[in-house]
């Protein structure tokens, strides 16, 4: 669904008749002036990035904690069964 102003119609209005040779060496001043430059927003932060490192540290500690708990449980399992069969 295109926007209301028909792009093609608008395009034709803007660019009357292209020159016949390939490419155009120079862009007329007027057109350069009307062209819009999209500048990235000044304060735009890249998606996901957290430069304070807070989120990363929290995640690191959480995952270390989780891994340690799992490791302790596995160690307990091995140890208990070794103790049970050692007799």
């Amino acid at each position: 669904m295109p926007p209301k102003d028909d792009p093609k119609a608008r395009a034709v209005a803007k660019v009357p008749k292209p020159p016949q040779q390939r490419g155009v060496a120079r862009v007329p001043e007027t057109r350069e002036a009307t062209s819009r430059i999209h500048l990235s927003e000044p304060g735009a932060q890249p998606v996901f990035v957290d430069d304070s490192g807070k989120r990363g540290r929290l995640l690191t500690w959480l995952s270390i904690g989780f891994a340690l708990i799992c490791l302790a449980l596995i160690a307990a399992l091995w140890f208990s069964q070794a103790a049970a069969t050692g007799g």
């Binding site: 669904m1 295109p2 926007p3 102003d5 028909d6 792009p7 093609k8 608008r10 395009a11 034709v12 803007k14 660019v15 292209p18 040779q21 390939r22 490419g23 155009v24 060496a25 862009v27 007329p28 057109r31 350069e32 062209s35 819009r36 430059i37 999209h38 500048l39 990235s40 927003e41 735009a44 932060q45 890249p46 998606v47 996901f48 990035v49 957290d50 430069d51 490192g53 807070k54 989120r55 990363g56 540290r57 995640l59 690191t60 995952s63 270390i64 989780f66 891994a67 340690l68 799992c70 490791l71 596995i74 307990a76 399992l77 208990s80 069964q81 103790a83 049970a84 069969t85 007799g87």
Partner: protein, 726 residues
């Protein structure tokens, strides 16, 4: 897609250094988690008796060392005694349970006739069905040890046997709060069939304080011979007492249940009384325990709350839970993948057919000149070929090379070509997005084509690429990007991936109006569409995906043109490939996340957000992220499950992929030869791809900064590329 260097800021260096330090615990944690998964899988394999020797225990070896008195004696043997069942006394014994389905039915029958029995339980089954075990004890039955995993214990080292007995006691104690001294070894039968090996085991068990229980009468119900036969086999001759062997698990036990309902009243009519094994000999357990060493096998040592019992029971449950979870996810993944493959085949072929029909047209031919923007940063190896190929196009083009402060003289190389219609714009260092924005502003035509500086286009490509703009609803067009350097294995895998990705995936995505990416290597946009999308932004590393999604959300259609071909240079080493894909997958996630509000987009233009975004998230992030399960189960299945079945399943997956790939290659009229590398792709490439995905997922979650990196160019794509253009 282009390769770039993000605009460096003064603060980049310390950030990078910090990141490197932060990476380490991440890998340690990953290694630990992997270790835990391996442990649980090993435990599961153990619980399912996958570590035992393959041969089934067969009695009937030599029995020279077995005393004749034992062979002729009763079926119950302790360290220093042997018991025979008194006349008109029956001890019903059930092996292999508890089973969640059949044991309760057997318990119901026993309950109805008020008859106690003895259940020789498999430890893992007790851990898995503790409520059934508890009911057995509550109903007045007795539990005995039938080992933990039901192996043939003769083939095991003695420590494994001790573990099998002790763990079963633990499981029973944990479930029921009761200890037991009774033991029946798997595959044992009557005491008269004892051979030397089994006699040794019986003596060993006696020393550990166990009472070995053989049987007098085998119902042979395991073979499901019919209810009559089971009743017949289970009836002892001449009013003799007997230990009767039955089974309450290991397959369909309905015959056993039915036989029991007849056997018990019949025997009761003949004056039999029923008892548990120890119920027949009240002094037995005390006697067996006297003079035995007090180890963990001593029931007193295994309290129901014993942490060792808790550990093994919960270990089994965790392993079961993990494997069940893996299986169910794998089934969902498999189903979705299969569905996707079907959709791909149906819609991609349909798409190709429609487009290739003689009468197909987008509308009036689009012949007006177009602007081609080539952003470049240090691309001197390939830029000349790129620009030359663009100028050779069979379409009027205005080429704007935007040089993003290259240090290798890229701009000079282009200048020296002195080609008509080619301009070089030198812009201050600002990254690829800024360079593209500058190029858009400096070009004049309403249709903009973007081409990467490492890419060579075919002469017809630009003209074909812009034809869909005859349809006023089309806002962007994706071209067909081919791998130019196919000599190395890594590049060959990418070639396969590109052909499938472009010829199947993009066609399917077009059908559902959700093409995620108009590739930076060859794509065309309407200027108004780019403006509506707000230009190219640099807050994601996949600016092409970001722009494409924004164009979709602005209400434009995005289509794919397969015969507009360009040839690009892909990473030739694993390291470069890793970095490129790391950035792509991270960038794709960024773009999807950035546009998450699209899920609530209203109206018809919002369809992409509501329908396309979840679809893309599912197929580009979630499914590939779960792909490792396939490999985990391939390895697990190969070693611990049915090996042949696993290999067949794996082969089936490969064949499905091969068929898909052949289809894609045919649609693209590519030679099939490179497909020999496909099975190999399954072993290195796929794993690499999901590791990259996991890694970028972690980076995204932890908020780490990922930077643009540039490929080492050889210019090989330009040299070897377009045979069609030559």
């Amino acid at each position: 897609m282009g390769l770039w260097v993000r605009s460096g800021t003064a603060s980049d260096q310390p950030v990078r250094r910090r990141r490197r330090v932060k990476l380490r615990p991440r890998f340690v944690v990953a290694a630990v988690l992997l270790l835990i998964v391996i442990n649980l899988l090993a435990l599961e394999a153990y619980a399912n008796a996958s570590f035992v020797p393959d041969q089934r225990g067969e009695e009937g070896g030599p029995h020279k060392s077995v005393p004749a008195a034992v062979l002729d004696g009763g079926p119950i043997i302790s360290r220093d005694a042997q018991w025979t069942m008194p006349a008109h006394t029956i001890a019903l014994t059930f092996d292999d349970g508890p089973d969640p389905r059949w044991s309760p039915q057997i318990l119901d029958v026993l309950d109805r006739h008020h008859v106690p029995a003895t259940f020789f339980a498999v430890g893992t089954q007790v851990a898995r069905n503790p409520t059934v075990a508890r009911r057995m004890v509550r109903d007045g039955h007795e539990l005995g040890v039938h080992t933990f995993t039901h192996p043939d214990v003769t083939g095991l080292p003695s420590w494994r046997r001790r573990a099998e007995y002790a763990q079963t006691e633990m499981a029973i104690a944990h479930a029921t709060g009761k200890g037991t001294r009774l033991l029946r070894l798997p595959y044992s039968s009557g005491v008269d069939a004892l051979d030397d090996d089994n006699w040794k085991l019986t003596q060993e068990a006696g020393k550990l304080g166990f009472i070995s229980v053989f049987n007098d009468v085998d119902s042979r119900d395991w073979a499901r011979p019919g209810v009559d036969k089971i009743v017949h086999h289970a009836t002892p001759p001449d009013g003799k007492g007997a230990v009767v062997l039955l089974h309450d698990a290991g397959g369909d036990r309905s015959q056993t249940v039915a036989a029991l309902d007849r056997l018990i009243p019949q025997l009761q009519q003949r004056g039999y009384r029923f008892t548990t094994v120890s119920g027949a000999f009240p002094q037995m357990t005390r006697r067996a325990l006297s003079n035995t060493p007090s180890t963990v096998t001593d029931p007193a040592a295994v309290a129901p709350t014993d942490w060792r019992a808790t550990a093994i029971v919960w270990g089994i449950r965790a392993a079961d839970g993990l494997v069940t979870l893996f299986w169910s996810v794998l089934i969902v993944v498999g189903g979705l993948t299969l569905l996707r493959t079907l959709l791909l085949c149906v819609y991609a072929v349909g798409h190709a057919r429609r487009r290739r029909k003689p009468g197909w047209s987008w509308g009036d031919p689009v012949d007006e000149p177009v602007s081609v923007i080539v952003p470049a940063w240090n691309e001197r190896e390939g830029i000349a070929a790129t620009v030359k190929s663009l100028v050779a196009s069979h379409h009027d083009v205005e080429v704007v090379v935007v040089d993003d402060a290259s240090t290798d003289g890229t701009a000079t190389v282009v200048d020296q070509l002195k080609l008509p219609g080619v301009r070089v714009a030198r812009v201050p260092k600002g990254g690829k997005a800024a360079a593209l924005n500058a190029g858009i502003a400096l070009s004049k035509h309403p249709i903009i084509v973007m081409v990467d500086a490492d890419t060579v286009v075919e002469p017809e490509a630009i003209h074909r690429l812009v034809q869909p703009f005859a349809d006023p609803a089309v806002g962007a067009v994706a071209g067909n990007v081919k791998v130019g350097n196919r000599s190395s294995m890594v590049a060959r895998w990418q070639h396969i991936e590109y052909v499938i990705g472009f010829n199947l995936d993009r066609r399917l995505y077009e059908r559902f109006d959700c093409i995620p990416t108009v590739p930076g290597a060859l794509g065309a946009f309407r200027r108004v569409a780019v403006n509506a999308a707000g230009g190219i932004t640099d807050d994601t590393l996949a600016e092409d995906t970001d722009l494409t999604i924004a164009v979709h959300r602005a209400g434009w259609r995005v289509v794919y043109i397969d015969d507009a071909r360009s040839w690009t240079e892909t990473p030739a080493t694993i390291g470069q490939l890793w970095r490129q894909r790391y950035r792509w997958s991270y960038g794709t996630m960024q773009a999807l996340w950035k546009h998450r509000a699209g899920l609530l987009d209203p109206g018809r233009p919002g369809r992409f957000g509501r329908r396309g975004l979840p679809l893309l998230a599912l197929f580009t992030v979630v499914l590939p992220l779960l792909a490792p399960l396939i490999d985990i189960f391939a390895v697990y299945g190969f070693f611990f499950l049915d090996r042949a079945e696993t290999l067949i399943a794996w082969a089936a997956v490969t064949v499905v992929q091969l068929v898909t790939a052949v289809l894609a290659f045919r649609l693209d009229r590519e030679k099939l030869r490179p497909l020999w590398a496909l099975p190999l792709q399954q072993i290195v490439y796929r794993q690499l791809m999901y590791l990259v995905l996991v890694h970028s997922m972690v980076t995204a979650a932890s908020g780490g900064r990922l930077h643009w990196q540039k490929l080492n160019r050889t210019g090989e794509a330009a040299r070897s590329a377009p045979p069609a253009a030559a």
